[in-house]
Amino acid sequence: MTSGSEQSERERSNKDVPKIRLRGLTKRFGDKVVLDGIDLDVMPGTSMVVIGGSGSGKSVLLKCILGLIAPDEGTIEIDGTNVLALDRARRETIRAQIGMLFQNGALFDSLPVWENVAFGLLARRLASRADAKARAETVLAQVGLAPSVGELWPAELSGGMQKRVGLARAIAARPEVLFFDEPTTGLDPIMGAVIDGLIVDCVKTLGSTAIAITHDMLSARRIGDRAAMLFKGRIVWQGAASELMESGNAMVDQFTHGRREGPIQMELRK
């Protein structure tokens, strides 16, 4: 039997342990160092936004945490466990706690929308097809889509609807961790705001920990509690997302205000 004070003590200490902790994460492709010793903590129930220019290593960072790419050095801890040291089966178990919204939706063309949304439940045999379909309709409603959308094919959806369906698929299994890869890219400003709102609602409702990568500053401030900037494979700044526009860091200021002049020089071929 544990006393109430012990339990609350444990809950407090769990809150102090980052949900995701990266230490010295390094990834090279040939001679090119894409991630160069990344250290990053994401606390439980918070949203971290990673900003940075194209080719700065944001997507590789997410893919490393997801286990899609093996890093060359460093550790990735989820709930205090170094996932890189786990066997395949335990890594699968941890991966099942993660939902991901891909930049282009990455919906399965050969399946109707409802099967896309319920794919994780069906793949892990967590529900019968009838139950999975009912769950898919509930989650579609959560992202503002009618049940009839479930019968459509991904190719019949607009870009905004595909993003919503991708979000529905990411949250269908109620994951503890959510990743968002450029959630508003290619959307008009209103749809971008709608998607951001849905992301914030979903993260709050599920109590999930989230990492989003984006170079949409409005979206970064709407989604994120914390923000970090990646430049040439390194974290050059971390702080509250609300401080992004007045960070006091020359690189962040140049990036967030979209200035041509500054410490970040575009590498142009001559």
């Binding site: 893919k63 997801l66 286990g67 899609l68 699968e92 991966r95 099942a96 993660i98 939902g99 991901m100 891909f102 930049q103 282009n104 990455a106 919906l107 399965f108 063309d109 050969s110 794919f119 994780g120 793949a123 892990r124 045999r125 698929r169």
Partner: protein
Amino acid sequence: MSAFLDFVASLGRFLIGACLGTGRLTLFAVEGLSHIFRPPFYGRQFLRAMLEIGYLSLPVVALTAVFTGMVLALQSSTGLSRFAADSAVASLVVLSVTRELGPVLAGLMVAGRAGAAMAAEIGTMRVTDQVDALTTLSTNPMKYLVAPRLLAGLVALPLLVMVADILGVLGGFIIGVVKLGFNPGIYLSNTLDFLRTDDVVSGLAKAGVFGFLIALMGCYHGYNSKGGAQGVGAATTSAVVAASVLILAFDYVLTELFFAR
């Protein structure tokens, strides 16, 4: 001297590349095959692949078989008549179709149709992150995409070749009776008298191997495609070319294995 060294270096690079490619392909095939026997099994994916490879390839394979049987009867008749051996037309048609032309031509047709479709579909899934999405949804892409297709290739092509054998003989029969004036009963009797079980079985065994190779090439090239639409196009071409060449090469190897004395 430096030109010679350059030549040796490029030859070495080619050989190392070929060894690496063969090793990667072998590992891919072994992993794909191992997933056929390990749960979870994706029955729907298997049935879908059977539909793609088998049922939807049926018209093109059927037409190819009928015309091949017809041409064989015509050609062998003109050739054999020089040796007054016209009566051998029926047996020549049935042996050629069951042992050789049925499996090879069906294999080449399926490689062009289903192999290309497989490479294009998996390749598109790769470049649009759908393969990564499978992984994030706790689904092994090798198990979900590759294993069902390998099994379907292995099963569907022998079934197609059975149909092709019958239709090829039928094509020869039609020409033999209608154009060459054979008595239908005698033609059929000549066909069946010279046909042995191992002629058919060897053709079906070849078909199983060819089906596996077609699916393997489609999956391998699609799975490893990169670089957008151009990459998917290149993967599709590579899948069809590699499958066609392998079918012809393995046809020789298997014929040597089955019939060489």
